[in-house]
């Protein structure tokens, strides 16, 4: 038998952790976890999202923007300056990495919407969402890839260790972290297409394929979202913003819309619950994410892990003290937590919802 046959192993890998007591953990921890699953990706995308990293600017939206070309920066900043108070502008600190010879220009802005630009009932969050959509769809070569408060996404084309070194991830400390290594299957491997995908403080890392992308995209476009990043996962981030922030669904109800129970399971429920689930499926039929997925989504107040309805992608969870871990593989958790108190595999479609304790 020839054992020298070499094959790329397919399947994205994801990992995340959350300290419920808001203890800030160094980025080196999540990097170690993700790097254990290096072979799940193929070097065409890796990224990290962290919450609690900008305490000194926690009241400002932190925009991370990638520019294909330095000249694009001018038009984007013109637009920002006329709509926002800009507390601070800086390049996102990076280190030279041999494996990443080219990268977009990466800038960071701490901003707040100008009061006189918030006309009528417009809330600051809506204003920011509009800005993200406008910049990403109208300013050629400029992408706001992170727009939340006291959180940030760092991502690009490279493997987990190189992207971490490039963005100096070990210098950040956060109480919630998610991370992803990518094996792009249907869509291009480019800087904007790496995970996490974010909007406001929603961040998504995803393993799988959202085959309902077309339906989800058209549905989101009716609410003003513009899908510009050429990758299915983008719909999940905007869907959470729509369902939870704008429509006011609870996290668990939103999860039931994204990974709706099958009709036969709804039929077996008590009448009240069956009626509620039926209504949810009818109203949010276009929000259903079809196809295989395991997803971690971070937000200002917690971390959620969820699988598709028949568990076509792996997800393992574990706890130790006040920290909850979730990853594609148990060994990725044990790489940073050798002796967890509890390890389990969440059931299909049943979210693991973890909330941070009070501020």
């Amino acid at each position: 038998m020839n054992h020298n046959y070499q094959k790329d192993i397919s399947g994205c890998g994801l990992t995340g952790l959350i300290s419920k007591k808001r203890r800030r953990v160094s980025g080196s921890t999540i990097v170690k976890s993700l790097c254990l699953m290096n072979d799940r990706g193929n070097g065409l995308g890796a990224g990290y999202a962290a919450y609690g990293i900008y305490p000194e600017f926690k009241d400002f939206y932190a925009f991370h923007i990638m520019y294909d070309d330095a000249s694009v920066r001018f038009s984007a900043e013109e637009y920002l300056k006329s709509n926002y108070h800009i507390e601070k502008i800086e390049e996102i600190p990076t280190s030279p990495v041999k494996a990443i010879p080219i990268s977009p220009l990466l800038m960071r802005y701490f901003v707040s919407p100008l009061k006189d630009r918030l006309v009528g009932e417009t809330k600051p969050d809506d204003f920011v969402v509009n800005t993200v959509m406008k910049v990403n769809s109208e300013i050629e070569g400029a992408y706001i890839f992170s727009s939340g408060k006291n959180m940030g996404a760092f991502k690009g084309v490279g493997n987990p260790a190189d992207i971490a070194e490039f963005f100096r991830i070990e210098e950040y400390e956060g109480y919630t972290w998610t991370a992803h290594t990518r094996f792009p299957t249907n869509t291009p491997g480019w800087w904007g297409g790496a995970h996490p995908f974010t909007l406001l403080d929603w961040s998504i890392v995803h393993n799988g394929e959202i085959s309902s992308y077309g339906i989800n995209k058209r549905y989101l476009e009716m609410y003003g979202y513009k899908l510009t990043l050429l990758t299915d996962t983008e719909v999940a981030a905007y869907m959470l913003d729509l369902l939870i922030r704008r429509h006011g669904l609870s996290i668990s109800t939103a999860c039931q819309a994204l990974a709706a129970p099958f009709w036969k399971n709804i039929d077996s429920k008590e009448a009240d619950e069956a009626e509620a689930l039926t209504a949810l499926r009818q109203i949010y039929g276009s929000a259903l994410l079809n196809g295989p997925f395991s997803i971690l989504f971070g937000h200002a107040n917690g971390l959620v892990g969820i699988n598709d309805r028949i568990k076509l992608r792996p997800l393992v969870a574990a706890t130790k003290d006040d920290v909850v871990y979730m990853a594609s593989e148990e060994s990725a958790i044990r790489a940073i937590c050798p002796s967890p108190e509890k390890v389990w595999s969440p059931r299909a479609g049943e979210p693991v919802v973890v909330e941070l304790s009070g501020c």
Binding site: E330, R334, S345
Partner: protein, 245 residues
């Protein structure tokens, strides 16, 4: 005996060391500090005994033909894919898609397993694979099963809790599934019959579970205290007429 410290060893290097040792005739190998290394024991032939300390990575014992692997921890996904002979003993829990297309040998798990375990497991007149799960199983247990024996014990399950998930044995057209306790017919596909065990079933079950209990240091009497139900294919060719007319 050969002892390998796998801490920080890349899976290719670790597997090369194991293969080299087996090729040299090493009968007992202990691998310590394993965490996430893929493909351990894949395609391995012979009669070596390999002990794994830690959590091995995905695709352990695929196409394995002979050796015995004991995992002193949890297993991950895709263990015993198309395994031909030999045995894998897992002292903890294990993940999804175990024993996919397995065609011989044994897979014993002390704890619970994930989704799609023993999908399309198959047997021939010459050999038949066996999987024993000590805990509970997720959905699609024994889906499209074509041969072999699956035993689900639910040893630590709460009284009245379902031991298997949905789509139990869906599409089954060969082999047998034994469940310790009652089976909810609503979980099973239309292709599955549920019945009582006869003397032949009991003799086979006792023989297999004697070996399982010895491997897991359990009491056979305790395991046999509770009754079993047998799941069998209602038809050997459920779709035989699908394209006939």
């Amino acid at each position: 005996m050969l002892e390998i410290n796998a801490t920080k060893l890349y899976y290719r290097d670790l597997n090369a060391m194991i293969r080299e040792a087996v090729a040299k005739g090493e009968k007992e190998i202990v691998v310590k500090g394993v965490n996430g290394q893929y493909y351990i024991g894949d395609g391995l032939v012979g009669s070596s005994m390999i002990t794994i300390e830690g959590v091995p990575g995905n695709d352990l014992a695929a196409f394995m033909d002979g050796p015995v692997i004991r995992i002193k921890g949890n297993g991950q996904d895709n263990i015993c894919n198309t395994m031909n002979s030999g045995k894998v003993i897992i002292e903890g829990n294990a993940g999804d898609v175990l024993g996919y297309g397995m065609r011989g040998g044994k897979l014993f798990i002390r704890g619970s397993v994930g989704y799609r375990v023993a999908i399309h497991m198959k047997g021939t007149k010459k050999q038949s694979p066996t999987i024993v799960v000590g805990g509970t199983a997720g959905d699609f247990f024994g889906e499209y099963m074509a041969g072999g024996v699956l035993i689900l014990l639910g040893l630590d399950a709460e009284e009245g809790a379902s031991l298997a998930g949905d789509y139990l044995g869906t599409g089954m057209h060969g082999g047998l599934i034994y469940v310790r306790g009652e089976v909810d017919p609503n979980l099973c596909g239309a292709e599955v019959g549920i019945g009582e065990l006869d003397d032949e079933d009991m003799a086979m079950l006792r023989e297999t579970l004697t070996e399982y209990c010895k491997d897991m240091s359990l009491s056979l009497d305790d395991v046999m205290k509770k009754g079993f139900k047998k799941l069998y294919p209602a038809s050997l060719r459920p779709y035989g007429n699908l394209y006939a007319y």
